[in-house]
Assembly symmetry: C2
Homo-oligomer: 321 residues x 2
């Protein structure tokens, strides 16, 4: 059995499940595992380290013959980085957080589908106007960077705004119930991050994955403190949803003081990252942590989410008297 | 055709649609209209004005023979108010925002179902332990008072936490796509507020309803300023989602100054409410305003939402290859 949508038809997928290109976490092995299991794996190029990209894109190419993709943070992209990634022949190229117009033509000219992640309805209209082949509507419950609108009302509003461009739902989805709900909202699939961060093939530190398994949604928080300490200049309306650790508790709502204390705080933060001290180092995670209770192979996650979504869709049909 | 769930079976509904008991907006006429159309209408007793309650509960009793309910803000409830409302023989009694234990026994002893609205998973466990017959999981995208968790990940987590107690989804739902998504998340129905605030029978001022029709989700904001100016002592983690008007822009993030200026600001606010000046007076509204484009009779809304949800559930079934 499989779930058929415009997304699965476009790429020959067994399930409308897309791995979110989590910066430094969605490496080539994880992306390939998701693609090999019938989903669509996206490598998380994030801020655009060319050496990391070369290594992980070589890996995904080697490990799967199925379609896969790559993602970059738009405001960190450059023509050179986009060119580099296109050289590995991804099936899709996701851009999020910024103006995609400088890169749209090159991506589409390479025969690659342009996927634009947006956080508000007006951003979705801009993405469609820029030539997006697929729009991802990302809700505030997502882990990592995002904005303020919630998935449930955002997805149908984006579907209406960009029709007939297909839409994926992102944010707060970690199981088959969330995938089935995304499809009912009018999405053609779901982009899933945090659940796959806690997969065997994830590049997330093992101790950080254990924290995701243990965490509740109430332990997550949108904050800028981890951007400040890493010297990333994110603009409004973007913040990062992370597990609330000691560093976050110490500095959230004291952002100016943190910015003034970088000379002493950055070396400490750097050591914490090296040592895997996640009371200081960031663990990005979404509100769906409530639904995450184990670390298993990505293929098992794709299977579970698909089977549960299929079961829910069948339950839905049976509700019709 | 109809949608059958544990909720519709319990109350003989045609559709698993529940009118949110919006304070002062969900009056007897609106609640009766929803119940007569096959949903479940709840009168919004809110802060508990006994004269308002007597008038609106008399009205709902007179206008429908179908099951209906009543809601109160838990921290404003008193044994006398609960007794008063139970005297009108509601089928369900919704309590939200506080400890329901002082009232649970009286409500259940009256043969009335206890419905507890919650905003976090641990609150859901407390509600189930207190004897809730139904738990409403309310996401942050909801209009009016609420907290910070989003509907999409909150609902399945609450379903798991309180099983086998039935759960309703609230927050961000205004059409049949949202209802169908709620059912896929494991809810037995949806509680819908803002969409019905813009119904013909709503007690919301006509000019405020026009603002809801015109508004986008980005025009809404969670804030305490309207609680401060109305001298309502809401505690953490509750804030009210409202349309961002001039009053909100002027005072949000200046809450202490507002509290210090009440002597001059309250009379101005009172006049604005009297005159229907909604650049000052509050219009509570959720992020689902993106999906609200008209003011029509409540029965038409119940019909539309049901028909669209049925169609979506059928589409979902057809996705199974």
């Amino acid at each position: 059995v499989a779930i058929r949508t415009a997304l699965t038809e476009a790429f020959g997928l067994a399930s409308p499940i897309v791995l979110a290109p989590m910066n430094g976490i969605s490496g080539g092995r994880l992306a390939a595992a998701v693609s090999n299991a019938g989903g669509l794996g996206l490598v998380g190029g994030g801020y655009g380290d060319p050496d990391w990209l070369r290594r992980e894109l070589t890996l995904v190419q080697a490990e799967t013959d199925r379609p896969w993709g790559v993602g970059l943070i738009t405001w960190r992209a450059t023509p050179e980085l986009v060119e580099l990634a296109l050289g590995y022949r991804p099936a899709v190229f996701l851009l999020s957080f910024g103006d995609v117009r400088p890169y749209a033509a090159a991506i589409k000219a390479a025969g690659c589908r342009l996927v634009c992640q947006v956080q508000e309805v007006d951003m979705a209209r801009d993405a469609a106007a820029a030539g997006a082949d697929i729009v991802v509507a990302q809700g505030t419950e997502a882990g990592g960077h995002g904005a303020v609108r919630a998935t449930m009302p955002l997805v149908p509003a984006v579907v209406d705004a960009v029709a007939p461009v297909p839409v994926l739902a992102a944010g707060g989805i970690a199981d088959g119930r969330g995938l089935a709900a995304a499809l009912m909202l009018g999405a053609q699939g779901a982009m899933i991050g945090t659940r796959f961060a806690a997969a065997d093939e994830s590049l997330m530190d093992e101790r950080a994955r254990a924290r995701i398994v243990a965490a509740r949604a109430a332990d997550t928080q949108r904050t800028r403190v981890f951007d400040i300490i890493r010297e990333y200049s994110w603009s409004e309306p973007y913040t990062g949803r992370a597990l609330r650790n000691r560093f976050c508790s110490d500095w959230h709502d004291r952002e100016r003081e943190l910015a003034a204390a970088l000379a002493t705080e950055m070396p400490k933060y750097g050591r914490a990252v090296e040592q895997g001290d996640f009371e200081t180092a960031v663990v990005f995670a979404g509100e769906a942590v409530d639904l995450i209770n184990d670390v298993v192979p990505a293929a098992e996650l794709v299977r579970r989410i698909s089977v549960e979504a299929e079961a829910q869709l069948r339950v839905g049909g049976a509700m019709l008297a």
